[in-house]
């Protein structure tokens, strides 16, 4: 193993596994390049140039009657632009929320190692811990938005990026069923080239929890599976609802 940084949670050693770490440089955290609301009232489509020089992972929310819901199916991305389209002129006064991450979905990535059987519910709630603030902010702040790393929080980590083409499948090495996203190139009227859309909302992805399979994708159209390393045990806070 190379040189890196590990910050353990209170009472744990840094070699006691991912489950007990507040931070490990084995995995990039999900840097948010841009998070904002896009004003699209009265528009039918718009193009947002981005300066990243790669095709970023994006997530989008809302609007839906004043609420943020997710994800939007009418937003696309490529290495130059983010595209927003609408069936007819948009009359919704609420804005579309977009989060752009520092993850190139066309470049393969695999985390260096998997060191525990599952993810963690452990967290620091004591006064001992580590805090890195954003530029210009102070560690006395109680606003978590001022921090890039705070040991009373957990963040999904990037586990793998698997670029592909057409239909295909990928079997991950995590010992639990992770949260994942699938992006796929598609044809969009009025947009040249083939931007990516988040495929999860369409019947184009199936999984048994271990193998993620992309179906119905055209030959030669690129795809990308992004797998996030969970920050919590899946069963650490279960609510049962019976209707």
């Amino acid at each position: 193993m190379g040189i890196g940084i590990k910050v353990s949670l209170p009472g744990n050693d840094t070699d006691s596994g991912d489950v007990n770490l507040a931070y490990s440089s084995e995995w990039p955290v999900l840097r948010v390049i841009k998070n904002g609301e896009l004003k699209v009232l009265g528009e039918t489509s718009t193009t947002i140039p981005h300066p990243l020089k790669f095709t970023p992972m994006i997530l989008t929310w809302g609007p839906n009657g004043g609420f943020l819901n997710m994800p939007r199916q009418n937003i696309f991305v490529d290495s130059n632009n983010i595209y927003w389209t609408h069936p007819g002129t948009n009359t919704d006064t609420d804005d579309t929320s977009i989060m752009v991450f520092d993850v190139d979905i066309e470049t393969a990535f695999n985390a260096n190692e998997v060191n525990v059987s599952t993810s963690s519910s452990a967290a620091s709630t004591s006064n001992v811990g580590i805090r890195f603030t954003k530029e210009g902010k102070d560690t006395s702040s109680h606003d978590l938005r001022d921090y890039i790393l705070h040991s009373s929080t957990r963040t999904p980590l990037l586990h793998a990026v698997i670029p592909g083409s057409g239909n295909g499948s990928y079997t991950h090495d995590l010992p639990y069923s992770p949260i994942f996203l699938v992006f796929a190139q598609t044809d969009v009227g009025g947009i040249s080239g083939k931007p990516y859309v988040l495929l999860n909302n369409f019947a184009g992805v199936t999984t048994d929890g271990k193998t993620i399979t992309i179906v119905g994708q055209q030959t030669g159209y690129k795809t990308s599976i992004v797998i996030l390393k969970d920050p919590f045990y899946i069963d650490s806070n279960i609510t049962d609802v019976t209707v």
């Binding site: 190379g2 940084i5 931070y23 440089s25 990039p28 999900l30 840097r31 948010v32 841009k34 998070n35 904002g36 609301e37 896009l38 981005h50 997530l59 929310w61 839906n64 004043g66 943020l68 819901n69 997710m70 994800p71 983010i82 927003w84 804005d95 977009i98 989060m99 519910s121 709630t125 890195f132 954003k134 530029e135 210009g136 902010k137 938005r145 890039i148 705070h150 009373s152 929080t153 957990r154 963040t155 999904p156 069923s177 949260i179 994942f180 996203l181 999860n200 909302n201 019947a203 992805v205 199936t206 999984t207 048994d208 920050p231 919590f232 806070n237 279960i238 609510t239 019976t242 209707v243």
Partner: protein, 147 residues
């Protein structure tokens, strides 16, 4: 005077304090993360959305979040819509067309069922949710979103 932090590994940036990261606070109660297991024995046809899960997040603003679903829970892998746990809205097209949707505002997070034009019976689903401190401070048009 502010100080900058930048940790890289080769060409990969690991930590950079000029950008925010997604952070889920582990301290609040109710928790900002969890798994909601839904069993619908019978939900008669309805025209307004049915809220099946709601929790206050106690932020003073509308935070970002993700929800990933597992459907149908507890059965063999089958069906073109099955995911465990892909992010997104869960649209159930057969046998009854309805949808599990998620709502977030400045007060609470909710999981709702919409579109139940016929009775829904014997349905199982799981939803993993993570609520993050990060919101959407930028208000911009397409021309200045990345300015």
């Amino acid at each position: 005077m502010s100080s900058n932090l930048l940790i890289t590994q080769g060409s990969k940036t690991l930590l950079d304090n000029t950008y925010p990261t997604w952070k889920c606070d582990v301290r609040p109660n109710p928790k900002h993360f969890g798994l909601v297991r839904v069993k619908i024995n019978r939900l008669t046809a309805f025209t307004t959305n049915k809220t099946i899960f709601s929790m206050d997040h106690n932020y003073s603003y509308t935070p970002s979040y993700i929800v990933a679903w597992n459907y149908p829970r507890g059965t063999a892998t089958s069906g073109s819509t099955r995911q465990t746990f892909g992010i997104g809205i869960l649209s159930v097209t057969s046998p009854v067309s309805y949808e599990y949707d998620y709502q977030m505002d400045s007060k609470s997070f909710r999981i709702v069922v919409s579109g139940g034009l016929l009775d829904i019976t014997d349905d199982y689903a799981e939803f993993r949710y993570l609520i993050f401190a990060e919101d959407f401070p930028l208000k911009a048009s397409s021309s200045n979103f990345f300015a």
